[in-house]
C-alpha cells in the first residue's frame, strides 16, 4: 500500500511539471503583465525597460520558466510579478476559504444525494423515484452561475420586501461577525447559498450513482441470504446493502472534490467570496504568470490528493481491491 502511494505521488511530479510548463509558456507568450504600466502615460520608457529587464521578461520562455521555478522552489512560490508581494500568505488565506466552502457543499451533497439515491432504489419505479431522476436531470442541465444569480435575486428580494435575512448573498462575513458561535453562524449564513449552488450538481450525480449502486447490491446473493435467514428488512437495507453500496460513492467524492476546484471559480466570483476562484480570476485579469502558476500548482496538488484519497479509501473499504 505504502509503495503504491509513493509511486503514485512520484508519478504525478512529471505530469505536474509538464502542466506547469505548458501553462507558463502559454501565459507568457500571450499575456503582458506590464500592460497596466504601459497604458499609463506617466510611466517613463526607461523605467518600463528596467522593470522588463529586472523580471527577465525579455528572456526566452524557457529561461523565464527557470527563474520562476527557482523562485517558487526556494521562496514558497515566490512573489507576484505585478505588485511584488509574497504569493504564499495570500494563497494560503484563499485556500482556507475555498476548503471551508467545498467541505460544506460536499457534506451536504453527500448526505442528501445518498439519502435520495437509497430511497429511490428501495422504492424503484415509484413516484418518488421518477421525481428524483427527473430532478437530477434538471440539476445536471442547470448552469451553476445562473442558479447562483437566481438565488441572489430570490434572497435579496426576500430581504428587501420583508426584512428577513435568511442567507447573505455576498461576501464571507458580516462587518461585525462576532466571535465563537455567532461567528460560525454568520459564516454559515454566508456560505449557505454558494455551497448549495456547488452541491446541486454533486447531489444530482451522487443520487444517480447511489441508486444504481444500491440496486446492484440489493439484487446480490448475500442480500438474498440475509433476507432468507429472516433478518428484518430495515437491518438488511442498512447493515448489509447500504454499507456496501456506499463504497463507489466514497470514491466519487474524492474525485469530485478535486474537480470542484474548477467549478468553484464561477460560484466564488458571483458571491464575491475571497477564495481560490476569485484569486485566479484576478491573476488572469492582471496577466500575472507567477500567480497563475502558483494557483495551478496548489489546485493540482489538491486534485492529486483527492484522487489518491479516492484510491486509498476504495482499497480500504473493499477488501477485494489490492494495489500492487
Amino acid at each position: 500500500m505504502l509503495t503504491y502511494i509513493v509511486r503514485r505521488l512520484l508519478y504525478s511530479i512529471p505530469v505536474l511539471l509538464a502542466a506547469s510548463f505548458l501553462t507558463f509558456t502559454f501565459v507568457v507568450l500571450t499575456a503582458d503583465p506590464l500592460q497596466g504600466l504601459k497604458g499609463n502615460f506617466r510611466a517613463q520608457p526607461e523605467r518600463i525597460a528596467a522593470i522588463t529587464h529586472k523580471y527577465h521578461l525579455d528572456e526566452p520562455v524557457v529561461v523565464q520558466y527557470g527563474y520562476w521555478f527557482k523562485q517558487a522552489a526556494t521562496h514558497k512560490l515566490g512573489n507576484t510579478l505585478v505588485g511584488n508581494t509574497p504569493i504564499w500568505p495570500e494563497l494560503q488565506r484563499v485556500l482556507g476559504h475555498t476548503i471551508q466552502l467545498l467541505l460544506m457543499a460536499e457534506i451536504f451533497a453527500l448526505i442528501t444525494g445518498v439519502a435520495l439515491g437509497v430511497y429511490s432504489a428501495i422504492r424503484q419505479y415509484s413516484v418518488f423515484d421518477y421525481t428524483t431522476t427527473t430532478l437530477s436531470f434538471v440539476g445536471l442541465a442547470t448552469p451553476i452561475f445562473w442558479l447562483a444569480l437566481i438565488f441572489q435575486i430570490v434572497f435579496t428580494n426576500i430581504y428587501l420586501k420583508w426584512d428577513i435575512r435568511i442567507f447573505y448573498t455576498a461576501g464571507l462575513s458580516s462587518v461585525d461577525p462576532g466571535h465563537g458561535f455567532s461567528f460560525l453562524i454568520d459564516r454559515m449564513q454566508h456560505l449557505a447559498l454558494p455551497a448549495l449552488c456547488i452541491a446541486v450538481v454533486s447531489i444530482a450525480t451522487y443520487s444517480r450513482y447511489m441508486r444504481a449502486s444500491m440496486l446492484e447490491v440489493v439484487n446480490s446473493d448475500y442480500v438474498r441470504t440475509a433476507r432468507a435467514k429472516g433478518l428484518k428488512e430495515r437491518r438488511v437495507v442498512m447493515r448489509h446493502a447500504f454499507r456496501n453500496a456506499l463504497i463507489p460513492i466514497i470514491t466519487l467524492v474524492g474525485l469530485n472534490f478535486g474537480a470542484l476546484f474548477g467549478g468553484a471559480i464561477v460560484t466564488e466570483t458571483i458571491f464575491s467570496l475571497d477564495g481560490m476562484g476569485a484569486y485566479f480570476i484576478r491573476a488572469l485579469a492582471d496577466g500575472d504568470p507567477y500567480r497563475i502558476q502558483a494557483w495551478l500548482l496548489v489546485s493540482s496538488v489538491m486534485i492529486i490528493i483527492g484522487n489518491l484519497f479516492a484510491d486509498i479509501v476504495y482499497g480500504y473499504l473493499d477488501p477485494r481491491i489490492r494495489y500492487e
Binding site: 502542466a19 442541465a141 448552469p143 435575486i153 428580494n157 464561477v266
Partner: protein, 360 residues
C-alpha cells in the same frame, strides 16, 4: 433455385404456405423484395418466425440501424425533446425572421419593461401621454432592447458554437482514439498523457487561460478552443472500443484478405463504434453550450455586440434585483436546450445499444 417463397400478397392468406427452410437458397427472400438485410445478419429462422410466417404475419428483416431508428422513434421522452429542440433551434437559426425586434433595437420609452404578452402602459416623460406599449415576451433591458429577440439571436450564436465544438471534437477524438486503439504507439501515448494532464489540472482554469488570451471574443475561436479540450472523452471511448474490436475475428479476416490498415479502421471497425460516438457527440453539444455560457458570463468568451446566452445573463446581472427577467429567461432557455439534448442522448444510448433487439 428449387424453392422460392410465394409473393407476400394478401390473397394467399387462406392457403397454408410452404415454408422455405433456408435449404435451397441461403439468400433470404427479403432481398428479392428489397427489404433491409445486412450481409452479416444471421439467417437462421426461429420458431416464432416460422409460426408467424405460417399465420400470414409479415416478418421484416431489419438491420441494426433500422432497429435503432424504430427504438428511438418509440422513445417518447427523447422524441418529445427532439421536437422541442428542433423548434428552439429553428427559432434561433431564423432569428432574423422570427424575432419581433432586432437584437440591438433601442426603445427608450420601454426600458426595463417586465415580460408581458400584451404590452404594459408606458408614460412618455416629454409629452406626458400614456400609450399602450409594445408586447415584450421576455421584457426589456435598461436600453429598452427586447430580450426575447436578444435571446433568439443568442440561441443562434450558442448553437453555432456548440455545433462547431461537437463536430471538431468528434473528428479529433475519433481520429486519435482510433489511431491509439488500433496502432498503440504515439497516438496512444499522446492520448494517455493528455488524459493524465486533464486528471491533474483543473479543466475550467485551462479553458479560461486559453480563452482569455486566444479567444479574442470571436465565437469561432472560442469554439475551436473548446473543441481542443473536449476531444479526450470521446478519444478514450473510441480507443477502448478499438482495443476490443482489434481482437475480433472479422478484423482478423479482413487482415488475412489483405485489407490495408486504413480500410480496416474506416470500413470495418468504425461502423461498429458509431453508437457510442453518436451518443458522445450529442452530449458534447450540451456540455459545449454550458461551458460557452460560463466563459461568456465571466467575460472571457464571446464579446458584444454578438449576443450569446451566457453574455445575456451577465448583461442582466447588474439590474437583476429590479429586473429579474433579464437573468431568468436566458438561463431557462439554456436549461431547456441542455435538458432536451441530454434526454435525446439518453434515448440514443438506449436505441443504439447493440445488445437490444426489442422494439418498444
Amino acid at each position: 433455385m428449387s424453392e422460392t417463397a410465394p409473393p407476400r400478397t394478401d390473397d394467399h392468406e387462406d392457403e397454408p404456405r410452404p415454408f422455405a427452410r433456408n435449404s435451397g437458397s441461403t439468400v433470404p427472400e427479403s432481398i428479392h423484395t428489397g427489404e433491409l438485410v445486412e450481409p452479416g445478419m444471421p439467417l437462421e429462422i426461429s420458431e416464432e418466425m416460422a409460426l408467424a410466417y405460417e399465420q400470414g404475419v409479415d416478418i421484416e428483416a431489419r438491420s441494426h440501424w433500422a432497429y435503432a431508428r424504430k427504438r428511438f422513434l418509440r422513445h417518447r421522452l427523447a422524441m418529445a425533446s427532439l421536437i422541442l429542440l428542433v423548434i428552439i433551434l429553428a427559432a434561433g437559426m431564423f432569428a432574423n425572421v422570427v424575432a419581433p425586434y432586432g437584437y440591438a433595437d433601442i426603445d427608450l420609452l420601454n426600458t426595463q419593461a417586465p415580460p408581458s404578452i400584451h404590452g404594459s402602459e408606458t408614460l412618455n416623460p416629454i409629452t406626458g401621454e400614456t400609450a399602450q406599449g409594445k408586447p415584450h415576451l421576455f421584457g426589456t433591458d435598461l436600453l429598452g432592447r427586447d430580450y426575447f429577440s436578444r435571446v433568439l439571436y443568442g440561441i443562434r450564436t450558442s448553437a453555432r458554437v456548440a455545433f462547431v465544438v461537437a463536430t471538431l471534437s468528434t473528428l479529433i477524438g475519433t481520429a486519435i482514439g482510433a489511431i491509439a486503439g488500433y496502432f498503440g504507439g504515439w497516438g496512444d501515448n499522446l492520448l494517455m498523457r493528455f488524459t493524465d494532464l486533464i486528471l491533474t489540472v483543473p479543466g475550467l482554469a485551462i479553458l479560461l487561460v486559453a480563452a482569455a488570451f486566444l479567444g479574442n471574443g470571436s465565437p469561432y475561436r472560442v469554439a475551436v478552443i473548446l473543441a481542443l479540450l473536449f476531444w479526450t472523452g470521446l478519444a478514450r471511448i473510441v480507443r477502448g472500443a478499438f482495443l476490443s474490436l482489434r481482437e475480433k475475428e472479422f478484423v482478423e479476416a479482413a487482415k488475412a484478405s489483405g485489407s490495408g490498415d486504413m480500410r480496416i479502421i474506416v470500413k470495418h471497425m468504425l461502423p461498429n463504434t458509431l453508437g457510442p460516438i453518436i451518443v458522445t457527440a450529442t452530449l458534447t453539444v450540451a456540455a459545449a453550450i454550458l461551458t460557452e455560457a460560463v466563459l461568456s458570463f465571466l467575460g472571457f468568451g464571446i464579446q458584444p455586440p454578438t449576443p450569446a446566452l451566457g453574455k445575456l445573463i451577465s448583461d442582466g446581472q447588474g439590474q437583476m434585483i429590479e429586473a429579474w427577467w433579464l437573468v431568468t429567461f436566458p438561463g431557462l432557455v439554456i436549461v431547456g436546450i441542455v435538458l432536451c439534448i441530454n434526454f435525446i442522448g439518453d434515448g440514443l444510448r438506449d436505441a443504439l445499444d447493440p445488445t437490444q433487439r426489442k422494439v418498444g
